[in-house]
Symmetry: C2
DNA sequence: AAACATTTTTAGTCTTGGCTAAACATTAAG
DNA sequence: CTTAATGTTTAGCCAAGACTAAAAATGTTT
C-alpha cells in the first residue's frame, strides 16, 4: 500500500459516514484538493486490489478489506495524536498535521506497543473514538450542539471540525472536551446561541454550534 | 525535500566517514541497492538544490546545507531508536527498520519535544552519537575490537553493523553496550579472538571483532 | 603509449500519481 | 420528451524516480 492509496482509503472511510450511497469521485476530489479525473484513476486501482467496490458513475464503497485498512490508518492517526498531546505536550490544534504523516508508518508492533504505552486510550484529543487492533470502534452517541433545545444541559464530547483556527477559538472561549454547557437561548435571526459554559456566559454563532458534539448530561 | 532525496543525503553522509574523497555513484548505488545510473540522476538534482557538490566522474560531497539536513535525519533516526527501546520496549535489533520510516517525519517541534521527552540522550541503542538540534555531534574515540592487543581491557561502546542477525548474535553471547572485555588471546590462523566478557570466556571470529567498537578502560 | 578493464554518464523507457481538455452519462428543466 | 446543466470518465500529457543498454571517461596493464 502506498502513501497515496492510504490517503484515498482514509478519505473514502470518512466520507462514508455522512453518505450512505457510493462516494462520488467529485466528493473525494474536493476533500483531497485534487481533480475528479485523478480520483477516477486511483479508484480503479483500488478496485483492482479489491479495496473498494466501484461501479462507473455510481461511486465507490469500501470492501471489508478496504474498511479494515482504513480503520488501521485511523487508529494510527488517533493514537499518535494522543501521544503528541499526552506525552509531548502538544496542544490539540497542533497534532493533526503531524499525525497525517505518522499514520503512514508501517509497523503493527509499533502501533500496538504505542497503544499499550498510552494505556489503551479510547478517544483522541478531539473526542473521536480509536479503533482497537481488530478494527472495532466504539460509536458514542453524540449530537451537534446546534440541535440541542433551549435550557437543555449537555457535555461537550467532541469537535466535528478539527482545524487549528476552530480549536484555537474554542480555547479562547474556554470550551473544552468535558465542559458542561447549558443552552440559555437561541436567536431566531442568525441562529446564534447563548450558552453557559462551566458557569460562564458565552455566545456562539450557529457555525460554531454545528461543529461541536455534545451528549445529554 | 522528498523521501528519496533524504535517503540519498543520509547515505552520502554515512559514506563520507569512511572515504575522504568524493563519494562515487557506484558506492551510493551499492548501499541503496539501486543502479549507478539512477544515482547520477539524483545526484544532479541534489547538486541543483545545492545540497551536494558534484563534479562529473569525481564523485559527490555534501555542502554545509546538505550536511545539516543529513544530520537532522540522522538525529531523528537515532532519537526514534531510543524512543522505541526506552519507551516501547523494543529490542535493539528491532528498531532500525521502523526508524528508517520515522526519520522522514517532518516536524521540528516533534523532534525537539521527543528529544526532551527522552531526556536529551547522547547515544542511540547501538552506541552511535545523536546530533543536537544545531547539528553538533560528539565524536567518541572508539576502536574496533579487532585492533585491540592481547591482554588489553576495554569496554564495548558500539556496533559498526546494526543488522538484526549480528545484534541477535551479540545477545546470545551476552555481549552488550557497557560489557567489559579482555582480549585473552588472538589466533594467528583465522584471527579469531578469545575474550573474557564480563568474566565469561567467549570466542569470537574476526568478523565479529571488526564490527564491535570498544574504548580503553 | 596503446590496449584493455572498470567506472560513470547519457539516452531512452517504464510506473506512479498527478493534470487539462474533450467526450460521455446522468439528472434536472422546460 | 427533448434540451440544458452537471457530474464523471477517457485520452493524452507531465514530472519524479527508477531501470537497461550504449557511449564516454578514467584507471591499469602490458
Ligand atoms: Mn486528526
Ligand atoms: Mn483527531
Ligand atoms: Mn538505525
Ligand atoms: Mn542506531
Amino acid at each position: 500500500m502506498t502513501y497515496s492509496e492510504e490517503n484515498y482509503l482514509k478519505v473514502i472511510y470518512h466520507l462514508s459516514h455522512t453518505a450512505n450511497k457510493g462516494i462520488s469521485t467529485n466528493a473525494i476530489a474536493n476533500v483531497m484538493e485534487s481533480k475528479p479525473s485523478s480520483v477516477t484513476d486511483m479508484v480503479q486501482k483500488l478496485a483492482d486490489k479489491e479495496l473498494v467496490e466501484y461501479v462507473k458513475y455510481q461511486g465507490v464503497t469500501l470492501t471489508q478489506k478496504g474498511m479494515f485498512m482504513a480503520l488501521m490508518i485511523v487508529r494510527k492517526h488517533r493514537l499518535w495524536e494522543v501521544f503528541l498531546v499526552e506525552k509531548l505536550d502538544f496542544s490539540w490544534d497542533e497534532v493533526h498535521d503531524v499525525a497525517e504523516q505518522l499514520e503512514h508508518i508501517k509497523s503493527e508492533k509499533l502501533t500496538n506497543k504505542l497503544d499499550e504505552f498510552l494505556g489503551f486510550p479510547t478517544e483522541d484529543p478531539h473526542g473521536d473514538p480509536i479503533p482497537d487492533k481488530d478494527g472495532r470502534i466504539a460509536s458514542i452517541d453524540k449530537k451537534l450542539l446546534s440541535e440541542i433545545g433551549v435550557s437543555k444541559k449537555v457535555i461537550c464530547v467532541g469537535v466535528k471540525d478539527s482545524s487549528p483556527p476552530f480549536l484555537q477559538y474554542l480555547d479562547k472561549q474556554q470550551i473544552a472536551l468535558g465542559s458542561s454547557i447549558e443552552v440559555v437561548a437561541k436567536e431566531d435571526f442568525d441562529h446564534s446561541l447563548s450558552l453557559r459554559v462551566d458557569g460562564k456566559n458565552v455566545t456562539v454563532s450557529n457555525k460554531i454550534a454545528s461543529n461541536l458534539f455534545v451528549k445529554p448530561v
